[in-house]
Amino acid sequence: MAEHPDGEQKPGWADTKAFRNAFLGVLAVAALAAAIAGFLPQFQKEHPHFSVEHMGAFFAVYGFVAFSFIVLAGQHLRKLVGRKEDYYDERE
C-alpha cells in the first residue's frame, strides 16, 4: 500500500473528497436527467401495459422507494434470524 514518507497512508483515489463529490454530482445529474427525460414524448412508450407507465417519473420514484424500503425494512430481519457467528459450530 502506498505510504507517505511520514508513515501515514495516502488516501486512495476513491477515498478522496473530490472523487466522492464528483461521483455524487454525476449520479445526481444523471438521475435527474433520466427523470426529466421520462416526461418527454420521445422517451415514452407508445402502448404502455399499465397506466402508471404514463407517469413520467414512475420508475424513478419506484426505484428510490423500493431500494429504501429493502434497506430500511430488511435490516430488521436480523433481529429475527441473526445469531452468533459460531452458532452452528457449537451445535454440529
Binding site: 438521475a31 424513478a60 441473526g82 452468533k84
Partner: protein, 584 residues
Amino acid sequence: MTSASSFITALAVNPAVIMTVGAVLGALIPNGFAAIRRPLMMIFVAMSAFQLNRLGLGEFGALSIFGEPVTMLRIDPLSRIFAVVFHIATALNLLYAWRSRDRAQDFASLAYPAAALGGVLAGDLITLFVWWEIAAITSVFLVWAPGTRATFVAGMRYLTIQVLSGVLLLAGVVLVYRETGSFAFGEIGLRDAQGAMKASGLVMLTAFGIKAAFPLLHNWVQDAYPKASFSGTIVLSVFTTKLAVASIARAFPGEPELILIGAVMTIFPIFFALIENDLKKVLCYSINNQVGFMVVGVGFGTAASINGAVGYAFTNIIFESLLFMAVGAAVYRTGTSKATELGGLYRTMPLTMAFAIVGAMSISAFPGFAGFVTKGLIIDAAGEANHFLIWLVLLFASAGVLEHAGIKIPYFTFFAHDSGKGPKEAPPEMLLAMGISAFLCIAIGVRPEPLYALMPYPEAVADYHPYAPYHVIEQLQLLLWAVLAFAALILLKWYPAEVPSTNLDTDWFYRVPGRGLLGWAVAAVRAVWRLAWRLFSTRTQEIMDRIYAVHGPEGALARSWPTGFMALATAVILGLALIIAFAA
C-alpha cells in the same frame, strides 16, 4: 435390446461423454504431472464444443432400453443455448483455477459440468436421470475439497438433498411412463386433460424444484456452495440450478404456479442477502433471486418469455460467475469473504475491482450490459400478460438485485472501509478468466443479436428492441434513483453496518431441531435395542440353565445306567410282550 456396439456409438457421439472422458483421464494423471491436468481437460472441452457444433441440431444416439426407444442426445434450440453457455462457463472456470493441483477438485470441475451438459442434452427421462445423479455425486467433491469437518458434514447434507431430488425424479419417471407409456422427455405439465393436478407432474416439478432451489427448498445452496474452495464455489454456482431451469422450461412451460413461485424467489433472498456478512453467501442468495426471474419467464410460457428465461440464464451464468470470480480472487488473496474483514481492496486489486463492477452492472441490468438485453423480455412478459402485481414485484426485485449484487458485492469488497489489507492483484489466469467474462458481458449487452439468434424462438425476439428509448430511460430511472437512495442512506448513516453473524434460514430446521430429533431417534433405538438384547440374553441364559440342569453332568438324564437295571427293564418288556401275545 440395444447391442453393445450401438450403445458405445451412442456414447461416443455425445459431447457430455467426451467431457466426462476428459475428466476421468485428468483424474488419472499422477500428482507429479498435475500441471498438465487442466490443459488436458481444456482440450476435451474444446473437443466437446467442436462436436456440439459439428452435430448441429438433431437427435442422436437413439437406443432401445427395455424395448423402449431412448434418445441420449437431443440438440434442439432449447438445449443448444444451455449447452453453449455450459461450455463457455466450463472453460472459464478451468482457466480461472489453472494452477489448481487438487485431483478431486480438478476431476469434479469437469465431470460435474459434463453431467449437467448431459442432462440438458438428454432426450429421454432415463438419460436425464442418469446425468442428474452423476451431477449430484460429482459435484459433492467440490464441497468436500477444503477437507474440514464443516465441509464434510455440509457435503453430506448437500448429497442427501441432491439424491432426494434424484429419487423423486426416478419416481416421476415411473409415473410419467405409466401415464404416457414413453420415456420421452417433453412437456409434462401439472394437470391432466380434465384440469386436475396429476401426481407425475407434481413429483417431477418437486424433483426439479429442489435443484432449482425453489422457496423453502433453497437453502442447500447457501449451506453448501460457500463452503467449497474459492474456485469450487464458482463451478457449483453455474450448473445445478441452470440444469433445473432447462428441465423446467422443457417440462412445465406456461404453468401459472411457476409465476408465483418465481416471484417469491425473486423477493425473499433480497432481504437475506442484505443482512448477510459472507459475500459468497450473498451471491448464493443472488442465485435464488436470479433463478426466480427465469422461473417467472417459464411460467408465463409465451415464446418471448421462454426466450427471456433461457436468455437470462445464458447471461446470468456469465455475470454471476464473474461476481463469484471477483469475490473468489479476494478470498484467494486475503483468505476471507466476510464483508466485515474486506474493504478498500480497490487500491491493490484495481483490475479485479473493474471486472467486478462490470459484473455488478450486468446483473443489475444497466443498459449496455448483458442483463439489460435479456431481463427486459421477462418483465415485458408480465406486462403483456397484464399481470400488474407480478410486474411490480419484478421491478422491486430488480432494485433488490442492484442492492445486494450490484452494490453490496463491489462496495464491501473493494471500497467501504479500509480493511488494512493490501493484497496483490489477482494472478494472471484469474484476471484473464474475469476479463473474458467482462468482455462477454459488454459484448452481449452492446450487440445481443447473436444471443437472440441462439434463443429457442428467434422469430419471437425479432421485433424486440432493448434499446428503444423508453426502455433505456425506464431502466436508468429505476437503477439511478435506487443508487441515489443508496448514496442517501450511506450519507445519512442509515445503511446498516455489516456485523459478523450467522443468519438462520430453512437449513436451521434440519441442522438444529432435525439433528436433535435424529439424535433422539438414535438414542431411542439404542435403548430399545439394549432392552431387547437384555431380555433375549436373560431368557436364553435361563433356558440354557434348565438344559444344563437336565443334561449337564449333574442332570437326571446324564446319570449312568447300572447293568441290573437294563436286565430288569428287558425282563419287564419281554413280560409285557408275552402278555400282549397271550391276550391277542
